[in-house]
Symmetry: C2
Subunit: 245 residues, 2 copies
């Protein structure tokens, strides 16, 4: 049985038609209107029903295939993919992650300065003698300390204040300044905690920390953030989706 998703296209909207379509179809899949394995209305039928051209329809479907929501096979048709492979938004800050699971985050700023740092400068692709904003935050989930996060940012963000860091996530601050990190290279490891980490996170020497160093870039490929974080391993794990599509 082919499901006919109800779609409303607004030709007056500044949002491209293919994107409007993709969004509404994505909603129909993620909210369960369309079930995994369901056959999908074919391109020509959509073309006629919605009064859009085939390239527009194809582009919308392509977007959903790229997100792993649909699977297409030549000669056969298009179907809703297995729901568990749906890609989720991946580049989020810890702050957002915690909000999502209902644990109110808060932050204590342990240090805050602007100074030269060769390792960070290299990572951020800046001159080695450039002064770099850097700060260390202790992050809590509810009342429990969860992570020690050390970050370095290019000097153009020098207007960030300690107060701002306490009240919101770093990525939210960056977005307000018109910067949207879209790619990040991360290295994840584990080790015994340092004395500082034991003190701040309340750990015994046998309880390891999960470490993550991350360099994030905007769409143009400019580095926007370099970070070196240590998480309590008993309270946090990192979820990632890998794909080679």
């Amino acid at each position: 049985m082919v499901e006919r998703v109800e779609v409303h296209i607004d030709r007056g909207s500044p949002m491209p038609l293919y994107h409007q379509l993709a969004e509404q179809l994505a909603t129909a899949i993620t909210d369960g209107t369309l079930q995994p394995g369901d056959p999908f209305e074919n391109e020509m039928a959509l073309t006629e029903r919605l009064g859009l051209s085939r390239p527009t329809i194809r582009r919308a479907i392509q977007e959903l295939v790229g997100q792993g929501l649909l699977v297409r096979r030549r000669g056969l048709g298009t179907r809703v993919a297995n729901s568990r492979v749906h890609r989720k938004a991946e580049l989020t800050s810890l702050y957002d992650d915690l909000r999502l699971v209902g644990r109110e985050p808060h932050t204590k700023v342990l240090s805050f300065s602007v100074d030269v740092d060769e390792k960070a400068a290299a990572a951020l692709d800046l001159p080695l003698d450039e002064k770099i904003l850097n700060f260390v935050r202790l992050r809590y989930a509810g009342d429990d300390p969860l992570a020690v996060m050390h970050n370095w940012l290019p000097p153009r963000f020098a207007d960030i204040t300690e107060d701002e860091l306490c009240s919101r996530g770093l990525y939210s601050l960056l977005r307000d300044r018109g910067i949207r990190p879209v790619v990040a290279r991360q290295t994840i490891g584990a080790r015994p905690p340092t004395a500082t980490e034991r003190r701040h996170l309340g750990l015994k020497p046998s309880q390891p920390v999960l470490t993550m160093t991350r360099c994030a870039f905007d769409a143009a490929g400019n580095p926007v953030e370099y970070g070196d974080h240590s998480y309590r391993a008993d309270g946090y794990s990192i979820e990632v989706m890998l794909d080679e599509r």
Copy 2:
């Protein structure tokens, strides 16, 4: 200065024109013929020079933008992106990873059986009473034990033998059977080692293991592998690229 990349299009090839073009341009970027920041020949010029239509050119360029090799801005043009954000192939097995850095991997199979397992059945989307192939491998990098890897596979792979597991990577075995994992959901954490892990990996109680559980899917969204791995944290870290393009 606009670089004119030498491109040869073979209209007789079964490979799509846009892909031929994308591949040759990608090579020019990754091998350094085009440098990061270089302006890129614009669409109309490519159209005329190569005798291809604009949609074909655009599709090739789009492919490279998706890989993070190019950056486009309306009204401005297309440029080669910062080289460090180039996405690398991400879904590899440990075996391939080790080969790449020149450390000869080898494998000892610790256990091998076919039996029911509710947790694995749920992860693989199989009936709970279905018999599942499962095995535990101890992986070495050179002479050093590196990881204890526990894997579960659907019964259709029951023809895999212990010998095969010793000589090759798991993903290579799957590929030979026509299965290509393309997406995986991973959870990465850390904890102190169990007694078994201490024995096999030669760890002290204070040396943590890095844990990764992974469920991999093929292009159609069918689960093909479930794994629960423990790595020596002092010899291994996990690199991932995140992106929300």
